[in-house]
C-alpha cells in the first residue's frame, strides 16, 4: 500500500511538472514566502521550499502536500538531501509553480517590449 502511494505521488509530481509546463495547471502564491498552491475540484496541491539554516552549507529542501478540499493534509512528499531524483523533480516543480504564480513569462514579455520600444 505504501509503495503504491509513493509511486502515485511520484507520478503526481511528474504529471504536475508536465501540465504546468503546458500551462494547463496554474499556481497561486500564498501568504507564506516560497509557498504555492494549485486548486482542483476536490483537492489541492501545495509546494513549499525550506532552508535549513543551521546546516553548513545551507540546505534547501522541498515539500509537496496533497490536500483535501478543506485544506487538510492527506499525504506529503519531501525531498531529502541524498534523494537526488526526488529533490530534482520537486525543485523543478517548485520553479515552475513560482513562475506560474507570478506570471513570470508574461512579465518578461511586457518588460522586453517596453525596453525594446525605447
Amino acid at each position: 500500500m505504501t509503495m503504491i502511494i509513493n509511486e502515485k505521488m511520484t507520478h503526481l509530481v511528474t504529471t504536475l511538472v508536465e501540465k504546468t509546463e503546458e500551462g494547463k495547471v496554474s499556481w497561486s502564491p500564498t501568504v507564506n514566502a516560497d509557498e504555492f498552491v494549485a486548486g482542483f475540484s476536490q483537492y489541492a496541491i501545495l509546494i513549499r521550499k525550506y532552508l535549513l539554516l543551521d546546516e553548513s552549507p545551507i540546505q534547501t529542501y522541498f515539500e509537496l502536500l496533497f490536500l483535501n478540499e478543506d485544506g487538510r493534509e492527506m499525504e506529503s512528499s519531501v525531498s531529502i538531501s541524498g534523494q537526488r531524483g526526488t529533490q530534482q523533480h520537486l525543485r523543478k516543480l517548485f520553479t515552475l509553480a513560482r513562475r506560474s504564480a507570478y506570471n513570470v513569462e508574461e512579465g518578461l514579455v511586457k518588460l522586453l517590449q517596453e525596453i525594446e520600444s525605447r
Binding site: S28, P29, T30, V31, N32, E35, V37, A38, G39, F40, S41, Q42, Y43, A44, L46, L67, E69, D70, G71
Partner: protein, 162 residues
C-alpha cells in the same frame, strides 16, 4: 368474391400499418418532447445555481473588505472568525458550481487556511505578520473570485441565449 376479400384484407393491412406507424411517430414525438423538457429543467436549475453563486461571490468579496479593516486594527480574533466564515461561504458557493470552475475556489480556501494560520501565529506567539502582506493576499483573492464571478455571469448569459 375472392378478389373483394383480397382487397378488403389488403386495405385492412394497410390501415393497420398506418396506425402502427402513427403510434411509433407519436411515441417518438413524446420522447423528444420529454427530453426537451428535461433539458430545459436542467438549464433552469443550473441558471438558479449560477445566479446564487454570483450573489455568494459578491458577498464574499465584500466580507473580505471588512477583514482588511480588522487586519489594519490588529483585531486578530475577529479576523480569524471571519476567515472561518469566509471558508464556509466559499465552500458552499463551490458546491453549486460545475466541476470545471471549482479549482479557483479550492485555491481560495487553501490560501485562507494559510492566512488563518499566520493570523493565529500573530495572535498566540506575537509573531510579526505584516498587515500589508495579509491585505495584499486578500486583494489577490478578491480579484480571483471576481474573475470566477465574471466567468459564471458569462456562462449564464450564454445559457440564456440558447
Amino acid at each position: 368474391m375472392d378478389i373483394a376479400s383480397l382487397i378488403i384484407g389488403a386495405l385492412g393491412l394497410f390501415i393497420s400499418l398506418g396506425g402502427f406507424s402513427a403510434a411509433i411517430w407519436q411515441i417518438k414525438r413524446t420522447r423528444t418532447a420529454a427530453e426537451s423538457a428535461e433539458r430545459a429543467a436542467t438549464a433552469a436549475r443550473e441558471a438558479v445555481f449560477y445566479v446564487t453563486s454570483v450573489s455568494d461571490l459578491t458577498q464574499i468579496v465584500i466580507q473580505m473588505e471588512q477583514v482588511k479593516e480588522l487586519h489594519r486594527n490588529r483585531e486578530w480574533v475577529r479576523a480569524i472568525d471571519r476567515y472561518i466564515l469566509l471558508r464556509r461561504l466559499i465552500t458552499e458557493a463551490r458546491s453549486r458550481l460545475p466541476e470545471d470552475t471549482r479549482g479557483a475556489l479550492t485555491t481560495a480556501i487553501i490560501r485562507l487556511t494559510r492566512m488563518e494560520k499566520a493570523a493565529n501565529q500573530a495572535l498566540t506567539r506575537g509573531e510579526q505578520t505584516p498587515v500589508v502582506h495579509l491585505n495584499n493576499e486578500l486583494v489577490d483573492l478578491q480579484q480571483s473570485l471576481d474573475e470566477v464571478r465574471v466567468a459564471i455571469e458569462k456562462r449564464l448569459l450564454d445559457t440564456g441565449g440558447q
